[in-house]
């Protein structure tokens, strides 16, 4: 699903200006990373796209146009947001259940997705019985289960340790390469952005605005384990860091 954002400005009614004149165009099937310092409004931008902001609290100008139905949208949160009282399988089925898919088909699809994220055998567990990495896999499976045309991800691996993060990044790539979903991936981790995305959008500190966009000319399928430390990766890291550095530093001064 295409995403067109035009001159989007956003401020909380208490006066904090979060985004200023954001222009961004994401093509169908593209994988774009939104990279920026903490508090630059990355998450708010995702929430605006998902229409999750309360208009009583937030004032918006500009336009967000989606090339499809807003209900064909998936969102993987920083915290997994699994329903704690539902077993793993029932959590994965949730989106399908909301869409009124028949029980048998739901179950087939859920088991398929759980296999895809490497969690076969854990169908009957409750979320609290799983590790953080496993829970985030369930959240990923839950989102992909209903085949969203646009998938928003808000630092989904931010709470994981380095090893689990790399493993899940590799899995996300593998899955994305097999589907046609557009991915908007928010992160403040430069390496993560380069490893995953086709384009990296660097946002400035608040009020967030698009500072620069980088193409990542690494061919897919990618292997994050190989890429990390490669010459091309290091070169890109150096280039983008030069832009990001000032935002991080000035953010620290504020």
């Amino acid at each position: 699903m295409r995403v067109e954002i035009e001159a989007l400005s956003l401020r909380f009614r208490n006066g904090v200006e979060v985004l200023r004149d954001v222009d961004l165009s994401v093509g169908a099937g593209e994988f774009v990373a939104l990279l920026g310092p903490s508090g630059c409004g990355k998450s708010t931008l995702l929430n605006a796209i998902a229409d999750l902001l309360d208009p009583a609290l937030v004032e918006t100008r500009g336009a967000i146009r989606l090339g499809g139905d807003r209900h064909e949208l998936g969102y993987v949160f920083q915290r997994d947001a699994l329903l704690p009282w539902r077993r793993v399988r029932d959590n994965v089925e949730l989106g399908l259940q909301i869409r009124g898919v028949a029980a048998r088909e739901r179950r087939r699809r859920a088991d398929e997705l759980l296999a895809l994220v490497g969690l076969s055998g854990f169908e009957a567990y409750y979320p609290h019985q799983l590790s953080g990495g496993m829970r985030q896999r369930v959240a990923l499976a839950r989102t992909l289960a209903y085949d969203p045309q646009l998938t928003l991800m808000d630092e989904p691996f931010g709470a994981l340790d380095a090893q689990n993060r790399l493993i899940l990044q590799a899995e996300l790539l593998r899955i994305w390469e097999r589907t046609s979903t557009t991915v908007l991936f928010v992160t403040h981790d430069l390496a993560e952005a380069i490893l995953l995305a086709q384009r990296v959008v660097v946002l400035s500190r608040r009020p967030g605005t698009v500072k620069r966009v980088y193409e990542i000319p690494l061919p897919h399928p990618r292997d994050p384990f190989e890429l990390r430390g490669s010459a091309e990766f290091t070169r890109l890291e150096g280039t983008i860091w030069s832009t990001l550095r000032d935002e991080f530093r000035d953010g620290a001064r504020q």
Binding site: W85, I98, H128
Partner: protein
């Protein structure tokens, strides 16, 4: 396993000790009584009386009467509490307006309301149900209300993004979340329901365990009083054990719940 057996044995020994000591102090085993059984009863007499009480069928009639009132109070209290809790959780403004009244009613020692309630609802079962209800209602109401207010906003967001409307949010997030709060209060509610029924019977009734106890106290039949107290304890412990099982079954998804 070994530890569980030791524990069970120790518990049985302790209970046996309490009864033996009680019996000895009140003049059992041919000893000179340290305390008059009129004051403290005596286990052997209490058990004999319990048997006597049961044999005539009166024990069953009284127990059924009390349990009926307690159960009705529990069910109605839960329904009412959930209903109003959900409504208040949904309409915050209404909740804020009513807050002082609810807080006032709740802070009132409702047991002290029993005489008035008997006046309103008569000597029959209705007044016992109302006393029991008034105790259960507030526990469940507050738990429901807190349950609604403490619903995880992240979960609501998750359901909404998946295309869920208000109904889906209520079904998949709100109600399960509220039920977990209600079931967590089940044990307290059960013992309050029983207490409410018995207190109602104390104040004015023509049947039930509480009624029989008041009569016995008036006639200085201490043995009967202790017999009924013992019976009430057994009933309460059993009901609470059942409530605990229900609670564990329904809340097994919670952290710290049993692994399968």
């Amino acid at each position: 396993m070994r530890r569980a057996l030791t524990l069970a044995a120790a518990r049985v020994a302790l209970i046996a000790f309490v009864f033996v000591a009680w019996e000895a102090v009140t003049g059992g085993f041919g000893l000179r009584p340290l305390v008059d059984p009129i004051v403290l009863g005596r286990p052997s007499l209490v058990f004999a009386d319990l048997y006597e009480y049961a044999r005539g069928g009166l024990l069953l009639t009284d127990s059924v009467a009390t349990l009926e009132a307690a159960l009705a109070g529990l069910v109605l209290g839960m329904l009412g509490g959930v209903g109003l809790g959900l409504a208040f959780g949904y309409w915050r403004t209404v909740a804020d307006v009513f807050d002082p009244i609810i807080a006032g009613l709740n802070s009132l020692p409702r047991v002290a309301m029993a005489p008035v309630l008997i006046l309103w609802f008569g000597l029959g079962i209705a007044s016992k149900i109302v006393v029991s209800f008034s105790l259960v209602f507030f526990i469940i109401f507050y738990n429901t209300y807190l349950g609604v207010r403490s619903v995880d906003a992240e979960l609501v967001k998750a359901v909404r993004v998946m295309g869920g409307g208000r109904l889906a949010v209520a079904r998949f997030v709100l109600l399960p979340s509220v039920f977990s709060w209600i079931f967590a209060a089940l044990r307290t509610s059960v013992s309050f329901a029983l207490a409410g029924a018995v207190v109602g019977e104390f104040v004015g009734s023509t049947t039930g365990l509480g009624y029989r106890m008041v009569i016995a106290t008036g006639l200085l039949q201490t043995t009967r009083v202790y017999a009924i107290l013992l019976l009430l304890m057994i009933i309460a412990v059993s009901l609470i054990a059942i409530a605990k099982r229900v609670e564990e079954r329904l809340l097994r998804w919670r952290p710290g719940g049993p692994l399968e």
